[in-house]
Symmetry: C2
Subunit: 414 residues, 2 copies
């Protein structure tokens, strides 16, 4: 009892110290990330107002000018040596009565996942009050979601959740251990059933984290499965850069800066090695290991990969999704994957895939290439389904396409 | 052949556009994240020089002053209303001949994982040239690793990798679906063996991502298992905030700002619910479901949780690790978990845990509380192992403690 009493004695002192630690951490967090105490509170940014206008705030007392730039603002034309392009617009923040820079959008924003950064005296910085960020290649931007019918699918809702694993597999053909992201739907672990598998491929500059982070694929699948719109399915998100073990920071190359310019991305190497991934999944998960239990879809370069992988393996996939696919001509210098394009496509369609689904934005720079490809399908009487959306080669479209495609697969077709 | 010919015709145009897209993305990435072309290259920051000095760079043409602050610099005293504290030091960057702000450390840095941010005219920002960041509660800092014997364990090396899953389990006692991080060692999926399990708990303000991100637990385990220093083991990293479903951004609460001040963190709730987690793991993984196959360890609040969970369940864990444990007195207002402390400890030690391991930094604010606790153990003749390190209540120590503790468990003791 003596020792216990000793502990009792030091009680108030320790408790005081621990509370103090909490205060210090909190103060430090304010100083570092939430910038400053303001009006007895921390700076809130972004603040989504009741009418879906959004207020951005920054405490930068020494700045001469502060702007916000992001895809929620009307685009502006930017001249570059390569031509004129649409770039995200900018808006000026003004110092409010508390000395805090502030801007509120004049219009209500339509439901979407938006990204933004600040420009402080022209220096691009992230919003210190918002820890929610996404990395796209070497750019990190802050994000926020305006709620609505479509974006409800992007949110973590109180529905049963699937599990997400970072899984390493051995690729003898590439001579690498490689990492992929595997989503198993709610119930998978407690069931004895076999599940269909969607292989979901990223674009150039992406990696095995792209669909689960930028694409909100986990939330989309959780929500579509919970509502009954999509069948419970496994979703496999591999790394489509054949020279890479894994996403930046997750490889034995060390913490090197990410780049879009990687070797062996669209030269047939990844397509040729793809059956290794399917074999790994079929041997390590309870899958419907047959054509009717497999779908493949991808965005941009991943659409190109999906096109070629499905045509090289005409008995492997019943559902093919090309999202803003980078339909490029065959590369003369590389793999036999790209030879006899029409002949192989003929074989694929003779075997009647259940769904060949194509979507693209009407201002996508790949619009014409996709139109040519659709003409080839039309002229040969190959059936496919086509969805055209506004906007161009952007994640907004790919999240929407996944939300549309996932409910269509592993079901009898209309 | 006509259609194929058509595709051939548009070839150069599409290819040109795709290359252009790559250029645009790259230019955009430069503009956004790597700031500016400089000397025909992008800005490299931080640059770890051959002698382990480090150079930081920032392109901020309009800034009046730029500083770097981080734990690689000597600490400085900061006065606050709560007293005087050690804070990370700062160093001034100077504009170099290219107009880029630059600072090189005067001394070689010793091997460690360091974190830093910039101060631009007093505004704290992250390094736009470095995508490698860690979030600690509401603060995001950049990181870099100086290589060395200890920090080799923190790197992704070319060794077989374990898989890491974000797993949802149902907690009837907390009335929540909750998320945890589960590491399965290399070989687990292809084996029929049962594996021992280390339960690894985070501190106040942390969550189920803390050990795998800030703690580099995945890399540490991969490397210790590859070298044969540690036994292959499952590592379960639950969320110790009993009011929380999951880490910020992963919950149905939406993207709310993270905070250290959560309800039900040290009131016995989490400790009482803990057997649910063990049951989930034992029923969903191939575990050695017995005392000799279970370890529990945690940092700070997680050390407190480990102490109480292991004493409440004296037949559950053979290996207990208290890392800078927040050994607080019993909370009168809460759970019976904290009652009869000495009696329950007696029962636990009568059952002879294989290893009771305590570590703390000599400048930790919890040093005295741990000393009192060790005195209680000494006075009762309860065997334990004690490690004292330099420094205080910081992640540097917790990464080291995990590197020391993991090789000691699931093995005959010295």
């Amino acid at each position: 009892m003596r020792i216990f009493a000793n502990i009792e004695l030091i009680k108030p002192n320790i408790m005081k110290k621990f509370i103090l630690l909490a205060i210090i951490c909190t103060v430090a967090a304010y100083c570092r990330s939430q910038q400053a105490l303001w009006n007895n509170g921390v700076i809130v940014s972004p603040e989504i107002n009741n009418n879906n206008t959004v207020t951005f705030r920054l405490n930068a007392p020494n700045a001469k000018s502060v702007q916000v730039t992001g895809d929620f603002l009307p685009t502006q034309k930017v001249k570059t040596p390569f031509g004129e392009f649409d770039a995200p617009g900018t808006a000026d923040l003004k110092k409010n009565e508390h000395g805090i820079w502030e801007f509120t959008t004049t219009e209500s924003l339509s439901p979407e996942l938006y990204s933004y950064t600040f420009l402080v005296d022209s220096l691009r910085i992230n919003d210190p009050a918002n820890v929610y960020q996404l990395r796209d290649i070497a750019s990190i931007t802050n994000i926020f979601i305006i709620p609505g019918e479509q974006t409800e699918k992007y949110q973590v809702n109180d529905v049963p959740h699937g599990n997400v694993a970072k899984v390493w597999y051995n690729s003898p053909s590439l001579g690498l251990q490689r990492r992929m992201t595997v989503y198993t739907p709610t119930g998978y672990d407690d069931s004895k059933e076999n599940y269909p598998v969607l292989y979901l491929l990223h674009g150039m500059g992406g990696d095995e984290n792209a669909w689960s982070e930028l694409g909100r694929a986990i939330q989309i699948l959780d929500n579509l499965i919970a509502s009954g719109e999509a069948e419970p399915m496994i979703v496999v998100m591999p790394n489509g850069n054949a020279s890479q073990e894994a996403a930046p920071g997750e490889t034995s190359n060390g913490m090197i800066p990410p780049t879009i310019r990687l070797p062996k991305t669209m030269d047939g190497t990844f397509e040729a090695s793809f059956p290794e991934i399917v074999n790994y999944i079929d041997s390590h998960y309870r899958t419907k290991a047959e054509k009717s239990g497999r779908a493949i879809a991808g965005l941009s370069m991943g659409g190109y990969h999906s096109l070629h992988i499905s045509k090289e393996n005409p008995d492997m996939f019943d559902y093919i999704g090309l999202f803003s696919a980078a339909i490029l001509p065959d590369n003369q210098n590389s793999s036999p994957i790209y030879s006899d394009f029409e002949g192989k496509l003929k074989t694929q369609f003779e075997k009647k895939p259940a769904l060949y689904w194509i979507a693209i934005g009407n201002s996508d720079f790949l619009y014409d290439a996709n139109k040519e490809f659709r003409k080839l399908l039309d002229d040969n009487g190959y059936p496919y389904e086509y969805h055209e959306s506004p906007d161009g080669h952007i994640w907004k479209n790919w999240r929407i396409y996944l939300s549309q495609f996932a409910p269509r697969i592993f079901k009898p077709q209309k």
